[in-house]
């Protein structure tokens, strides 16, 4: 009789509302014991570098905008040239912070970052080409020589650079 009572108590205690555990849900809430492949310090470094990249990118966009809109007076004074040099220096520094940011193994780029990186294949060559063509154009203009067909495309290449860079920045900053 006594053992029957114990059995009944045991049975009903199993049926009682007990706290649901994570194990019941098949969820492991324990932090992994092994060292992560990408350490916290590397992750911090990544975040710091990408944040700097983000801020410098927007400053570069500002400088690029000023350069773009002073193009018309490039033959009257050197403002456009100096702004262009500043933009190029800022651009390269911005790129440095992105290219040297550590990235965890196995992370596949997805969504906007894919477009952001893809556009670099457009604006990077344009960034190299634009000041070279601008320099050639200004020199020939000052020397009174005829402009070549390539250097005449300075403003077209600059427009491609400005457009692709602005879209690339907007992709990261503004949600469409």
């Amino acid at each position: 009789m006594k053992s029957l009572l114990v059995l009944m108590v045991l049975f009903f205690s199993q049926m009682a509302l007990a706290d649901i555990s994570l194990e019941e849900l098949g969820v492991n809430a324990e932090a992994p014991k092994k060292e992560p492949s990408f350490s916290a310090s590397q992750m911090r470094l990544r975040t710091e570098k990408l944040k700097t990249h983000e801020v410098l990118g927007l400053i570069t966009l500002g400088a690029m905008t000023a350069t773009y809109f002073t193009g018309g007076s490039a033959m009257d004074n050197n403002t456009h040239m100096y702004l262009g040099m500043t933009t190029a220096a800022l651009y390269m520094t911005t790129a440095y912070y992105s290219l040297t940011a550590p990235k965890p193994m196995g992370v596949v780029d997805r969504g906007r970052i894919k477009w952001h990186k893809g556009l670099a294949w457009v604006h990077f060559p344009a960034m190299i080409l634009t000041p070279i063509l601008g320099y050639m154009y200004k020199r020939h203009e000052e020397d009174g020589k005829k402009h070549g067909s390539l250097e005449s495309q300075h403003s077209t290449v600059a427009t491609i650079l400005y457009g692709s860079f602005a879209i690339s920045a907007a992709l990261m900053v503004v949600e469409f």
């Binding site: 509302l17 706290d19 649901i20 809430a29 932090a31 990544r46 975040t47 927007l58 900053v173 949600e175």
Partner: protein, 154 residues
């Protein structure tokens, strides 16, 4: 108290909405697990979702989120609590839940809809000691609304 009825999530989805000056970002997890145990009058529940299972439209942002939330250290967000059994039959209801996120537990009011098939709450990032990301000194909003789509099976 006896467990007279047990419900398990057959499909669980959670979405968070982060607000920043220039944009609203959302990320969704389809790996929400949950269970409800009920006796004659009271039900208790547990919901759990791995932090790393939230995916937004940008893999870079998701990596940043894992760092901000210290997902290596606190890999799971849980919500648990109790409510009257009648809630499961109501179109609209409000219940209390203890949410454990980033190692800090805080009680929230959760709005339930459609017989507990939909739920939402507004997370308070500062309360969970989350160092909110910022750009140009402007931090993301402290309040992060979360929506849940829950399909229960008996």
């Amino acid at each position: 108290m006896q467990t007279l009825m047990a419900l398990v999530l057959s499909l669980g989805q959670a979405t968070y909405h982060v607000k920043y000056t220039f944009k609203n970002v959302e990320a969704t997890s389809t790996e929400v697990k949950g269970k409800i145990n009920c006796d004659e009058k009271v039900c208790e529940f547990l919901l759990a979702v791995p932090v790393k299972s939230f995916l937004s439209s940008d893999s870079n942002r998701d990596l940043n989120m894992l760092q901000v939330t210290e997902a290596e250290k606190f890999p799971v967000v849980t919500a648990k609590g109790k409510f009257g059994k009648e809630v499961l039959a109501l179109a609209d209801a409000k219940i209390e839940a203890l949410v454990d996120f980033h190692g800090v537990a805080k009680t929230y009011t959760i709005s339930l809809k459609d017989k507990a098939q939909k739920a939402n709450l507004i997370l308070d990032l500062d309360a969970h000691k989350i160092d909110r990301p910022s750009l140009f000194g402007i931090k993301i909003k402290n309040e992060v609304p979360m929506d849940f789509d829950l399909k229960w099976k008996g």
